[in-house]
């Protein structure tokens, strides 16, 4: 188990919103210890039986150590800075369409303060049998030893379900987020998975754009003994077009599916052609 557990005390910024209400409810059902909600002007109300406060500072007596941020994009920077300033050490940002200048500032502020930041535009993190912070469907997981890191939401569910249906289970599943800049990258998470005793093998789900997959492949080649399986999406994407994810764009021949697949193969990573092929490549 890494990053979060049953004991992690979670607040939800934007808890009274549509997404905040629904997903905090699902998180509680999954076993997550949601200790408070934060929605400015909504103090005194309850959502899913949990008290809502106006500010993060008002929740500090409850000793929160993680925050899920589910507020509209224009308010994400402010909400995340509020959480970091109040000493929250794990911040997960669900929201998509956050301006990249805002994310860039949050990235550097998080590194400076030693905050583990996931997202934006991410489905979150799930440790089956322990807790989830995010929006992944509850019923696709089983406790096990396969760690999954992915840049996509729905595709993560597709792959986790395939892994579970094939009789495996997951140690940790993390969606890094589909934006050009996100708080946690493949390189960060691969080190954590490598050190996690529960994780026996790793699945990386990458996509076109950027060079994080290539960097992770280099690290795996040099440091990781656990078996790694990979899948890269976007092989059919036309250059210059943004494929839904702001980060998924091929520019001037870099960040292509081909270069990422080659980097994976060079690092000894087994590469699947389809999401459905992944279970067959896992070590029994």
């Amino acid at each position: 188990m890494v990053i979060i557990s049953k004991e992690t005390r979670v607040i939800v910024q934007g808890m009274t919103g549509h997404q905040g209400t629904f997903h905090s409810g699902e998180m509680i059902k999954f076993g997550t210890n949601v200790v408070a909600g934060v929605s400015p002007g909504k103090a005194g109300t309850k959502v899913n039986g949990v008290d809502v406060y106006n500010n993060v500072i008002d929740t500090l007596p409850l000793k929160p150590d993680a925050s899920m941020i589910s507020v509209p994009a224009p308010f994400v920077r402010d909400a995340a800075l509020e959480a970091m300033e109040n000493g929250i050490k794990l911040i997960y940002i669900l929201t998509e369409h956050v301006p990249v200048h805002d994310t860039m500032e949050l990235y550097h502020e998080a590194r400076r303060k030693g905050v583990f930041m996931i997202g934006p535009n991410s489905p979150g993190i799930t440790v089956p049998g322990q807790a989830k912070i995010g929006i992944m469907p509850n019923n696709i997981f089983r406790v096990g030893d396969v760690a999954v890191a992915s840049r996509s939401g729905t595709l993560t569910y597709e792959i986790v379900k395939a892994v579970t249906d094939a009789g495996f289970g997951e140690s940790t599943v993390i969606g890094l987020g589909g934006d050009p800049i996100v708080g946690t990258t493949f390189s960060d998470i691969i080190k954590i998975f490598n050190d996690d005793p529960q994780t026996k093998q790793i699945v990386l789900v990458g996509e076109i754009g950027g060079n994080e997959e290539e960097k992770a492949a280099k690290y795996i080649k040099e440091h990781v003994k656990k078996p790694v399986t990979g899948y890269i999406t976007g092989i059919s994407a036309p250059p210059g077009k943004k494929m839904g994810h702001a980060g998924a764009i091929i520019e001037k021949g870099t960040g292509t599916a081909e270069s990422k697949i080659k980097a994976f193969e060079d690092a000894g990573i087994k590469v699947a052609s389809y999401p459905d092929d992944i279970p067959a490549l896992l070590r029994k």
Binding site: E158, N211, K241
Partner: protein
């Protein structure tokens, strides 16, 4: 969003970066009395405009009119010229390169400098390109200009320092992904002037910059229209209309089709929705792209499978869809969705590979 040169120069002017005097026309009736010689610059979003004949120089009013008539509505690098920028000619002594962009690897703004301006930065040898990284939480400081000046043959240090600071302010203030000046011109009087502009604004930050709400010339008509909807729609050149949910799954769907020698007509990420009208909207765009066959690939989560199923059935009626629709439904409310489709005679799979195989069979490709 890419901005035209004249729009980029308006931003430069706003931040105090010197640009040549000039004005924009859409027809020759708008030509003004101006100091000659002038440059006539086609406003298209394409590099190598000059080489393609998109920039001309006029010594007098007669030339100006002739060249403007030639350029307006002509096609350069496959783009139609709708506007011209008429600018005072600069007395160029030296051309340099200067830009600020977002470095994805270090997640920082980076200033890129070169004493070789006026050409494509990609063709300048690596050792002649200098990079200065800025910590976004610390911001700009004067030492950055001093470092930059150590790489560039510039006498007017004060003017350059002020220009660089202004460019950084424009980069941050306008939520730019790129602000580029190429060439950065040093004229006969040692003044420093932006000869051209290339500015790209972050689409996600457009709510802070409503002035740039223009039609994106990089998109097709249908794509521009779809941009106002709550899903992402991109046209491609195949024949299978695609509706999927989640950018990653939609991309994986296109990949699976391509690997099976099937050609997608479009990319459509429905996003997270529980709304039949959004499904119908999605179908309306896919149908207007005239696909031969339709593939709906849904993994329910936030999006409910039964909502999509109802949306498929109602779209079929509403748009009188004759094309065959192949559906894959998994996840939340999968059984309900499958039942709804079955009742109206649409075959649904709960696994992507099986659905793609069915499409291959219908299309007759192995």
């Amino acid at each position: 969003m890419n901005l035209y040169e004249y729009m980029g120069k308006e931003i430069f002017r706003k931040y105090g970066i010197p640009v040549p005097d000039g004005y924009v026309i859409e027809n020759v009736g708008e030509l003004k009395k101006f100091e000659y010689p002038v440059a006539i610059k086609s406003q298209i979003l394409s590099g190598k405009r000059g080489k393609a004949g998109g920039i001309k120089f006029a010594k007098n009013a007669e030339d100006l009119k002739t060249y403007s008539e030639q350029l307006l509505n002509s096609t350069i690098n496959n783009l139609t010229v709708k506007k011209l920028l008429i600018e005072r000619m600069l007395n160029i002594k030296k051309e340099l390169y200067l830009s600020i962009t977002l470095d994805r690897a270090t997640k920082q703004p980076v200033i890129i400098l070169s004493a070789d301006g006026g050409m494509e930065i990609e063709s300048v040898p690596e050792e002649n390109i200098h990079k200065i990284y800025i910590d976004p939480m610390v911001g700009y400081s004067d030492y950055i200009a001093r470092e930059a000046l150590s790489y560039l043959p510039i006498e007017n240090r004060k003017q350059f320092s002020s220009l660089l600071e202004s460019l950084y302010k424009a980069f941050v203030g306008e939520d730019a992904l790129l602000t580029e000046i190429n060439p950065l011109v040093i004229d006969g009087e040692n003044n420093i002037i932006a000869g051209d502009s290339k500015v790209i604004i972050d689409d996600n930050a457009l709510y802070r910059h409503k002035d740039y709400m223009i039609t994106d010339p990089d998109k097709t008509e249908l794509e521009n229209e779809a941009a106002t909807k709550s899903f992402t729609f991109i046209e491609m050149d195949g024949d299978i209309g695609v509706i999927a949910n989640g950018a990653g799954l939609t991309m994986a769907t296109m990949d699976a089709l391509t690997l099976h020698k099937l050609k997608p007509r479009n990319f459509l990420d429905l996003g997270g929705t529980d709304n039949i009208e959004i499904v119908e909207d999605a179908f309306s765009f896919v149908m207007r792209a005239r696909p031969k066959l339709i593939f709906v690939n849904i993994f329910g989560g936030v999006t409910k499978a039964d909502t999509v199923a109802n949306g498929i059935v109602s779209s079929k009626k509403k748009f009188d869809i004759k094309q065959q629709i192949v559906v894959r439904l998994s996840g939340v409310h999968e059984e309900e969705g499958q039942k709804i489709l079955l009742e109206s005679g649409i075959k649904a799979f709960n696994n992507m590979t099986d659905a793609v195989k069915e499409l291959s069979k219908i299309q007759g490709v192995e």
